[in-house]
Point group: D2
Chain length 348, copies 4
């Protein structure tokens, strides 16, 4: 299939290229970049030469839609809404790695992302779209025209919580999520706060209790538990490039052994290639999934406070963004989910 | 005063040397090291030459006690118990940077640290000792003969929680502590898990709900709140050398504004030179205190879950170990608390 | 083919597993490890589960030789000599990632590596062995029984210098090689000098003018130039996990433009898939080849001193070790050189 | 004395504040910043509160010159020329941490820095100015009105080469300088190439044989050797925040033992507090001087090529910039050279 990537030179864009250049069924035919228009992608990012040597085009969305079977967008939501309409009209398909299509209720999107556009709303509800957390929405994704690919933090959090919320092993109160992310998650815009000398040897919280991933996480957890779930969410930047670790704290509803928790997760994810449940006593580390599309989940029970501690790790650019996007693409085109994605983590 | 450091070549040992070499009232006269016995400290650690050029002696505790006014010990508790007795007998003073003297109840120590020695117990209770969290035990420290210098995590946690527990602004349930530490906290023993290639680009939880700092934290919080406090505590290693960030989650008991929380902390720590309370909207980062003895505390309220999020940062080798030890030494010898310790953080 | 890896849990061992687990023609059937004997490799290194789940055996060389078609050894030379004999006797094949078989003259090996064993010498010269720098010894490698896989530094250096020495564009005097390596090159033995807190934020030279890769480099450069070449070589450790950058300085023999140098390299390596020559004005960086088997070479001429500066980068665990080993395996078994090795660098 | 810092929020600016806030004889009275005008410096850089709480002013040079006894400038040369004139007219003193006043010949400056201004030239030669490499120009600095504070690379290089060039132990040909710098040397402008995710796990050469520090180094080495010296200079960025290591290769003129080289350096720098000569067999590492104003120099002889390898390390923000600037200020005001600068390196 012909694939286009809009916004190809950001970190999720070049990660899509890394994966799709070697994907047996995909052919990258269109790349766009505002900053690097008309340069060779392989000159902008040495190491791609021989794998992908396209010239970066400007934002010629019409051409992209006309010539590609599927489009990946990493653009701001204003532009993505525009592209969404064109894709639907042309009967093509779109995977949006931004936030434009992640919400069931357009008003929630508007509240948190400040969009001023009301016209979109009408279309928004009509679109055949799916939230692209593959393991939870497989059937819907297969047939959707537009995928709202999940945020990196939500992916790590929802996968970790789904089994215990679904099975009501924990209460819906006091769900505390403490996430640690590598700096690539902050994008590659030249901002002061992303400079090497600012981030190196530095761990810092940001957007505490205010991050835009909160409504996305709450939307999904509430659906899983079939009641309104509220979370506390604190993201942190740690001095590494890739990886997210989410440490999640829940109140256990009833007596349950660590082994039973393990069995419950194993059962829940028994058919999910990319989810790895760690045996009791083992904890995940970000490096164990670096460069791969896997999510590792481990846990511990703290009996003296009756707390379940769930720890999940993903590579924020893979399962947290581009890897999951390709996983969804595979589903949408009837391919095995791990086609072109079966990459072993890089270690050390 | 003459100062001895037992176990001088570990990271807390050489940090003591960094501080005390420039301390106007201290003169380092005795250094011991098992690994590097009879070498010059300044050859083992280049950069100390000219500041401290003593020869490292073996474990000649008698000489240390006889010739020094105060001894800092970074040795394992078995040895420290031995030294404690000698120091007390000689009427000298000891600051222990290990865990030997941090507990009110020797049985708690035995349970968590696995000591087999019962003879110590008798002396343990008789010693004139103090828990060396300077801001909370100033008067006791001044006159104590033995200081159990707090652990790095406990320092960051207890300082962050004391004002709200004391004022009963939060409940004693669901106190979640998620701490992130630089790798120097793991010591400088050549262990596989501390290798550069294992830690770099890696964030990992460890000792989840099992860390030996739990009973130390609970002992102190319970005294502050005058009832039994239980905590959930998860330490993590992040790829940096120095620094601890503790992110702490509590249930707010009643309506309180962020500004009122700020005022409460300001009031609580109004006389404490090394505690810095950040204005509402500002969060601490480890780099803001690197190399210094300061503790920065910030907070956020999450109204939709009625949660208070407290964030504190320290340099684990300074306020988390050697800096606080010198702060205590100053108190014990009638010096201003920040004498020789008034070091600005290094940035970037 | 059946593949065995002796010393599978070192960094080059697990990198071999990363590559060979996905290699269409290879099947890993034997793994050994002294430290982790009888554990699952995928428990020792999480992230391998599903890809390689063998149990690590002890040093049962007989079984390895009997059951495998080809053996990769990362063991010390004493053991590798032993294995070499067994492999030759059994008519199997060996790729040694250590230093045992890199030398034409056994006396050079003995001088630099201090082997005391004379019996080996006899066999040493008789073996059908090849120096495994693929691009230079392709034909010999195809038929050799034993491959002395090059050192990481020599690979980066010899590839960079071969074209200009062969074409005598530079003099054989004053060849200065300044190499910078990531810490994984120092192995994963728990040594003090490899600890995170020692290496982080630290750049340091080591083994200056004494490194054991000097005779290996000089042996090969002398053969290329057909006269004795002496080099100055200084390795450095820089705070990163993977990657080598060698910056090489030579005296230009005659007037030659940067463009002519570029053409010369292009011509020299025109048939070499894994060698990438950078256009004039572009310099290589280690991240451009991270995780891949590529070597990037760039250069600059300094006219005011008549100096040619050559810069080459490799991933020390890939082209510098395990990647090149598999490249050689491919050759030895009649496969395309990049079979199973055509991995794009990971960025960022 | 009253001190002003123009451009106070760059990395050299805040390093000046770190030092001068604790300097017994200096009082910071004026800080300027274009980006952060009218904010508190201690809000822009948390951790300075209590040490320096001035409000950042705009570029009110008149006020700065009128109210300060000495001004440190980190501004671009166009502005510094302007300030220079004002300072001279007012009979005050200026230490410029930029490049404006480092050159003996204004035409060299113009050629490399592209200044278009000719009017400056006239004043340039008339100014009572000195090149601020303290150890070499002590007497001139004491009385100069304007100091051209050396570049970071030149400081590390000239200090390393002065003894052997002065004593003509090495030839003036084939002087190869390979320098490795932490990323803070690239400044704190938000540029793509300085982003964390671009620099982390990456070592890269830049400005090969073209760096603007070349003419500065050649100017000084030529004066030392009293003949024209040409160098080859390649700077590299390595993934750390602070530190420069320069590895320098020279041809030895005659037989000289390593011990004799050591003695020669010891003699040359016998009165220089901040220069540390390492014993034969010891090599410097950047961490041994981090945060301090010291320069460590070590060496090795490679007899088989008759090469002397000199290795020097400095903290690029201290001896490479702000530390040396204060060292010069001390000299200019008749203070001991290490007043307020006697800071021990921070380790680990």
């Amino acid at each position: 299939m012909n694939v286009g990537i809009l916004g190809a030179t950001g970190y999720t864009g070049i990660e899509l290229i890394r994966i799709l250049s070697k994907h047996p069924n995909a052919k990258i035919t269109y790349l766009s970049s505002k900053h690097f228009e008309s340069q060779l992608i392989s000159e902008v990012y040495p190491g791609l030469d021989g794998f992908c040597d396209l010239i970066l085009e400007g934002d010629n969305f019409k051409k992209a839609v006309a010539t590609c079977d599927i489009i990946f967008s990493t653009l701001p939501h204003e532009l993505t809404f525009e592209i969404g309409k064109m894709v639907v009209d042309a009967g093509k398909r779109l995977i949006d790695l931004g936030s434009a299509f992640r919400f069931d209720d357009f008003n929630v999107f508007k509240k948190w992302y400040g969009s001023n556009d009301d016209i979109e709303k009408i279309e928004y509800d009509k679109y055949n779209k799916a939230y692209g957390l593959t393991e939870l929405y497989r059937e819907k994704i297969k047939n959707a025209q537009i995928i709202g690919n999940p945020g990196c933090y939500p992916t790590s959090v929802i996968l970790a919580l789904a089994p215990v919320l679904k099975n009501r092993v924990v209460t819906d109160k006091n769900i505390i999520i403490d996430s640690k992310s590598g700096v690539s998650g902050a994008g590659h815009e030249p901002k002061f706060s992303n400079l090497y000398s600012e981030c190196n040897e530095n761990t810092k919280p940001y957007n505490v209790a205010k991050h835009r991933h909160i409504p996305e996480i709450e939307q999904e957890l509430s659906k899983i538990m079939q009641e309104e779930v509220k979370i506390v969410f604190t993201p942190h930047l740690v001095p590494m490039t890739r990886g997210i670790l989410s440490t999640i704290y829940c109140n256990l509803k009833s007596d349950i052994t660590l082994k039973e928790v393990y069995d419950l997760y194993q059962e829940f994810y028994k058919n999910d290639y990319f989810i790895k449940i760690l045996k009791p006593g083992k904890y995940p580390s970000t490096k164990s999934v670096a460069g791969s599309n896997f999510c590792q989940i481990g846990f511990e029970t703290d009996e003296h406070t009756n707390t379940l501690i769930i720890m999940s790790v993903i590579d924020n650019l893979m399962k947290g963004a581009s890897g999951q996007a390709v996983q969804n693409m595979n589903l949408m085109f009837g391919l095995p989910e791990n086609k072109g994605l079966d990459i072993i983590r890089i270690f050390p």
